[in-house]
Amino acid sequence: MELNSKVPSGPLAEKWTRHKFDMKLVNPANKRKYKVIVVGSGLAGASAAASLAELGYQVSCFCFQDSPRRAHSIAAQGGINAAKNYPNDGDSVQRLFYDTIKGGDYRSREANVYRLAEVSVNIIDQCVAQGVPFAREYGGLLANRSFGGAQVSRTFYARGQTGQQLLLGAYQALERQIGLGKVRMHVRHEMQQLVVIDGKARGIVVRDLETGAVESHAADAVVLATGGYGTVFHLATCAKGTNGTAIWRAYKKGAAFANPCYTQIHPTCIPVTGDHQSKLTLMSESLRNDGRVWVPKRRGDDRPPNQIPRDERDYYLERKYPAFGNLAARDVTSRAAKEVCDEGRGVGASGRGVYLDFADAIGRLGENAIRERYGNLFDMYERITDENPYKTPMRIYPASHYTMGGLWVDYNLMSTVEGLFVLGEANFSDHGANRLGASALMQGLADGYFVAPYTIGDYFGAVRTFEKAETDRPEFKAAEAEVAERTKRLLGIQGDRTPDDFHRELGHVMWDLCGMSRNEEGLKKALAQLPELRREFWRGVRVPGTGAELNQSLEKAGRVADLIELGELLCLDALERRESCGAHFREEFQTPDHEARRDDERFCHVAAWEYKGEDSPPVRHVEPLNFENAHLQTRSYK
């Protein structure tokens, strides 16, 4: 397997412009002859599907939810970054590029990141034109705020519902194309298999989740925009339906999986209450702009927070990272919380929590100002915990939130399977080993609106003639048979454990042994436990009902089976990366003050895994990372 990043030559700032000029074009009369399948309808999928249809391609879009508007991009709260420099505080494309490279701990590809920063300004223009109601100042111009990991205010937001508003913008653009007959939308359909013919991605096999029918769909290019695999930890801020199935099936058909061990643990989530817990809820990191994080200085101090005097509190982020304080990067903040809880200074019934306190901000700005900024988040917190955060500090703890790893893609966002493009969180491209706050929305929309519509055209222009792929080809029939066989197998086991039960166990293994910090011993233990869990799953899962109806247990079972396998690759990747970088923290590799210690000599590269079949271990390939513009430094938030 060859990992050719296809990064264009020339100075960094000119690469994308030059590349666009060098691309093959498809004339308007020919565009309508090409078919594109888009799987996923979140920010990346919906924006790509709409933009490709606007250009004239025939587009089919698939989502497992009942409407494309439900995709989990909708839950992003805080905002979207863009290098507009409206606040005149020194931001620029160059600075956003640099912050993103540094935030990713020098494990991302320079050219991709620069392009992301470059098109960030177009995203804001596009969204405003669509009617996205971003927050505004009294003069009528757009408002900005600062966000975790940045010292400039470059984040645009729509109250605490930025993801929702951006997704509705993309969804409306998509619905417009559906109404015009340019996009065929398939809701409640889940991709089950990628179909590769003569080395090119030519279609997918899906299951109609309402009727159970297995269907083939052919195309000239396939786009996966199916999000991340954060639910490998079971409890996560992801939606319940979030899964790794589409990318995992593509991996098994030849798409390399890059950096699976880069998983982000978000520092500000509501702590777990009990075994019944089905998901964790994020409290936007924008709260760290005004909230102060602390724990008692003394271990086992169980006085109510309001009765702990100020000099007996440890505002540990401000103490350890005076320059960034409560705004230090996500991975740094998460680990710091784990550290104080491991010391026995955690708060709440479980001892796995820290305070996020607004008393000072309320004292300074008044309760109304805080309500205006975060009202909906405070309400949500109160609804879940039954505590009033205006009166008593919030309790927060880190939770699985985002996955920087994903399918390997080149500069054109094409995977190692020709004609298979991967967008948004599903790819690995832009965030390196750690993503900055408010950058996921930016990347999803950059890929979907401004990158893939160009690069897919270039692919069509370069390949030119496609033999028509019909769904009666043997490759489609074989894939359909595989899907039917797997369904039959899952239904036939009739064991005594539910799919959720296995998912919970997977989550425990992953969180305990491959979560916020990792070590060789734990990873080896996980790599022994996971194959056993996989065997136990295929012996003991119980899926009621049939395959020819709406069957939510069957859907879950299929997703959990894939997540167990994906978890194994994640642990293997974590084991092989013998350094700490960004969100990947290996206990063996840390500085005396417990910061991540990178090994640029040996690990300044992307690790991309190639599937070698059921009975052979996957092969690790390497794409070296060259830093010509941002110079390798030790990341510091002090």
Partner: protein, 260 residues
């Protein structure tokens, strides 16, 4: 912990609507054993998860219900609990409703949204495709990717932008339809239309949007609005019916200006 009610365990009786598929007539089934020992810290959907785990283990079919984000924003969940869409708590989706809102020994009736335009797919799941078709009819600004002018080129008064955001907060769950005695979708349609009609970007298509969306809603089989305001009370995002008044005006204006 200050203000935090202690966790308690509830024994409930659930009467749940079970319907195999679109063609099935459907009926209520009662679950008592399966709904014992429910923690007040659970969300309503986590309670259903627990009931389903117990049903599966005893060889029965779990209750199908829609859900996804479980943090009150995706709009995919929603059931009628004792006649109230999303249950008894104001401004709360079913996934954010916690069992501490119920008392020990309670008997709860759980049904899907009931409306001709929302056919039941299975158990508590309905087909809300009609909402998507209303949006496809006109709920957008016709701007292709790449067409956009500089974002700050057009200032928008903060109060207009804030009002548009109030409308745009709609999550498209359909509780408004379920709450309405006429099964009207007027609150949803108005929220979607006014989000754009209130902004300068939405002006060029204000008339065509207002006509197309309302006509589509009628074609889908939603009832007419007679201002009962049940929708506003049921809306988990507290969308105001003042947007309905604005939409009626926009529709009348557009109809009057329409070239004959």
């Amino acid at each position: 912990m200050a203000g935090h009610a202690e966790e308690k365990l509830l024994n409930l009786t659930l009467r749940v609507w079970r319907q195999k598929d679109r063609a099935d007539k459907g009926r209520f089934e009662t679950y008592k054993e399966e709904a014992r020992g429910i923690s007040t810290d659970m969300s309503f959907l986590e309670m259903l998860d627990v009931v389903n785990e117990r049903l599966i283990k005893s060889g029965r079919e779990p209750i199908a219900f829609d859900n996804d984000c479980r943090e009150g924003i995706c709009g995919q969940c929603g059931v009628v609990i004792d006649g109230a869409p999303h249950g008894p708590r104001r401004a709360t989706t079913t996934c954010q409703l916690h069992m501490r809102s119920f008392t020990d020994g309670a008997e709860l009736t759980v049904e899907p949204w009931r409306a001709a335009a929302f056919p039941v797919v299975k158990d508590l799941i309905v087909d809300r495709g009609a909402f998507d078709r209303v949006v496809a009819a006109g709920g957008f600004v016709s701007v292709n990717t790449g067409n956009a002018p500089e974002a700050n080129g057009l200032p928008v008064p903060k109060q207009d932008s804030d009002l548009a955001m109030d409308a745009a907060a709609c999550i498209g769950c359909g509780a408004c339809v379920a709450a309405c005695p006429n099964a009207s979708a007027m609150l949803f349609v108005s929220a979607k239309a006014q989000h754009l009609n209130l902004l300068p970007q939405g002006q060029p298509e204000r008339d065509s949007r207002s006509l197309a969306m309302l006509d589509q809603a009628q074609a889908e089989g939603f009832g007419s609005c007679t201002l009962h305001a049940e929708c506003e009370a049921a809306c988990p995002k507290e969308i105001s019916i003042k947007f309905i008044a604005r939409t009626n005006r926009d529709y009348a204006r557009a109809a009057a200006r329409k070239p004959r």
